[in-house]
Symmetry: D2
Subunit: 291 residues, 4 copies
């Protein structure tokens, strides 16, 4: 297909390369042009504006925050202006339920399609085409872009008939990640003070009932205290945790674990750990234990 990709951060860049490898025609746009040009060697065309990148069968946005998506979509020379009637906007980043609903309405009003297809996985997984893609939106729209969605990752889940539902599932996965970090942080601190070797605990966990990638990957980072350079910024984790709390607020669902995480993220930022990997929230459990 003829696809635009907007946002050439580590995730967006990797996703564009996955599409190129799968044989799609890819046009990229990035606010800082140099980052887009880096994709030319892989076969991508660089568009001069978001609107131009969006003037295809489909366009993927892969941007860090709701605000960035709003600017890129609703702004002058934005996605809304460039996408043809019948074109499909695929939101690949993690956005709020509210924004998903507003995008659905705005695109629908112009005869354009909108689906949310946030991805699960960090940049190395994106490079390897190993992302998990969770798509929400009109089933017919999803079918039309299925070749694109499948090229992005190892597995495509269709999670609902409305885009916001994909946001909800993705945020839920992120919540699972954050709360698993906190789980392990608490018992790592406890066992360390109790004289149990942390590496032994990690081994017992990951080779018994707790051997999912979430345990192995994030547990390893905590074990090695490998928070710098960050794989994903603590500030971005804080943003996603805020979005899950907002989702709970909107749906009247108390989320006590997410509230604990909120305080971990805030305390991390307060003591100056905002520039570390988001796994560094584990340092708070250790600090509270006097470690």
């Amino acid at each position: 297909m003829d696809v635009g990709v907007i946002g050439m951060g580590p995730m967006g860049g990797a996703m564009a390369r996955s599409l190129l490898r799968a044989g799609h025609k890819v046009t990229v746009f990035n606010r800082t042009r140099a980052r887009a040009e880096a994709l030319q060697a892989d076969g991508a065309t660089v568009a001069p504006s978001a609107a131009e990148a969006a003037a295809r069968d489909a366009v993927i946005t892969m941007l860090a925050t709701d605000e960035a998506v709003e600017n890129m979509v609703f702004g002058a020379d934005g996605v809304l202006a460039g996408l043809a009637k019948g074109g499909i906007h695929i939101s690949g980043s993690t956005i709020s339920l509210d924004l998903a609903k507003r995008l659905e309405e705005a695109h629908g009003g112009l005869g354009q399609g909108f689906i949310a297809a946030p991805v699960l996985g960090r940049p190395p997984a994106a490079e390897a085409g190993k992302l998990f893609v969770m798509a929400g939106g009109d089933a017919a729209l999803i079918e039309r872009v299925r070749p694109v969605l499948e090229a992005l990752g190892q597995r495509l889940f269709v999670v609902g008939d409305r885009p916001y539902k994909a946001s909800l599932v993705k945020l839920s996965c992120n919540f699972m990640i954050f709360s698993t970090i906190e789980q392990m942080a608490e018992i790592f601190a406890l066992n360390q003070k109790g004289g149990v070797d942390r590496a032994t605990l990690y081994e017992v966990l990951t080779e018994s009932l707790f051997g999912a990638p979430v345990h192995k990957n994030y547990g390893r980072i905590i074990l090695d205290e490998a928070y710098d350079p960050p794989g994903a910024l603590l500030g971005l984790g804080a943003k996603d945790n805020r979005l899950i709390l907002e989702a709970g607020e909107g749906l009247a669902v108390p989320l006590p674990f997410a509230s604990i995480l909120r305080d971990r993220f805030l305390a991390s930022e307060a003591v100056g750990d905002g520039g570390l990997d988001f796994c560094a929230i584990a340092k708070r459990a250790a600090a509270d234990a006097g470690l």
Copy 2:
């Protein structure tokens, strides 16, 4: 080896059978004698007292609470009285760190050995010899009973040189289970209110980054609301969660997730769910969401 097993609940009975299958000579004792006699068909001998069951190379206790272990060990005709000098008491159930330390001291004072080897897994895993065994204590003692420990499960982890460390690791695993239940309970409630099918969420989770047995097994119980008949009683879960909080208290380690779980267990008991499976704490997150 010549081994006694004390406590013929679903776990103890299954463990005795595993030992018999592995060729060990097994003598069993249970306060309610009929339960012990049920093992005779499998080849076990029934002892008339705990002391008699303990008069072997090694004796395993598999009892529900600290109090039950104390009574069986320190009481008249108990383990302490029956075990020969050089004999080894293996505590297979989940006991407090304090009791582990007291047992270590009491047995040591009599020239007996004591190791803690709590097991991870529910009765069906015990029957299938699929338990995980985490042993703590003097390395030489552990080596002497290794054939017994290995017969109990699929994998033996040696987690430390003191028995209480095995208690700590086992309690940590239980905490991982309880807090994973709460994680999933929160997002199941959130997604349900958001219109996302719970079965879809379960599939996305378990087939992406969250596919460990803890996710699959306990998530399935929550998904199916299969809380009755209980696999493990909510009251026993509450007891283990109390032990992990006590461990945190003793080591000065705050455990905010365990505190949330405490309130879930207490509220479950308060509303009359104490006789259900411990996964039923998930009902609290749903109730708080008005479901």
Copy 3:
């Protein structure tokens, strides 16, 4: 002084009457005109628009939410348009720190003054002129409207040189109220289950170390379960608690008690108590105790 008052809810109406009693010239505006006209008997003039009400020495806004204030200030025929250069906008309701900053900037840019002077107290206190007023903003501005601020309540506190600081102090007071409700809700439930008469507990508390108005007034409501009709809506309490959490977010300050309250408010709304008095969050502690 010549003062406008915008927003004739129970609080705004009472404040307008206090100003009239103190001899000020009062012009009122309310979106639903009938509510404004009810003040004519007390001597107020009814303005046809917010702009007209604002065309005085000073104008007070007393509106339920940030959104309502924004509409009334920035909208067509709004406060910004009507206030003369040198006129002063006094925000009497509880607004977010962000809005306080935006209003300060917007008014300042037009040569108008802005101070935040949120009030503490419920409608009966407002009618009796017994409110507490906490003013933030430029000291010279506050002095100019001091006769107005003093007429509103029994005590004026100047809490800082910027308007948002008054929002922060007021939200802190609301947090004190909400968390005192939760304190008492927890021990009322505990003592009731322990067989201690709740009225006895209330007496012990309020006649020993815990005899502040916050204890007596809100404790009495909980004791009597007098949640309907509401003195102040649970939904408004939820809004203020959200604002305090947002303030914590903006300043990187974890607020664990406020997070507990968040879940109380959400659960209350989820089970259908949103239309009760905000003290009804106390029902959650009782429900969790099986009462």
Copy 4:
């Protein structure tokens, strides 16, 4: 009356002096005899054993922990042995509900009376006879020692017909104190980071709706960070908070605020603040805010 007082810490000593001032005949005992002898100048007689001190109309125990009370009551030459049939043991310190029940049963079995009459207030209040006394137990017993109870403080509350109920009410008061400290700690941190003077906030609080002794006294300590020397040890606060959590456990009442406090106490001990005044748990909210 002829009264024994056991435990000559700052509280017990002050209480003995109050009794002497009120004209009672007072015999004191303390494990470290010198502390008892210090009371001789005030007119007290020193007993050589707890049993001897208890051989009066009534005997008051004022000891720091459950364990200390148990040793002094059940031990050789203890209260139980010394108290005559018909004599009354008054437990003045804060004990667990369980111990209150066990003491009631033990004394009752010997034809002795037992009431719990824990006191609210710190040593200076005790010296000034300004304690609040909350008595639980058989009404006739309470009447018999009313002159003693009234001499101890400014106000006697009879809170229930069983001794454990007085423990429950007293622990509830302590919970109110601890959670008020946390309330204020959170908003002091928030306002400080928001640029509001803490002393201004303290003034607004205590001169508006939050002017109870609990606010003024403990707020002042937090404001001045006057944690050393301690008025009451953080470790003792931790003990009382543990007792309130145990009461919640026993009665199946979740207490989320008390769980937050638990983590504050543990973190305080973990970072080395265990020897400060218990108000120093407020340092944790500040530390989490990066202050």
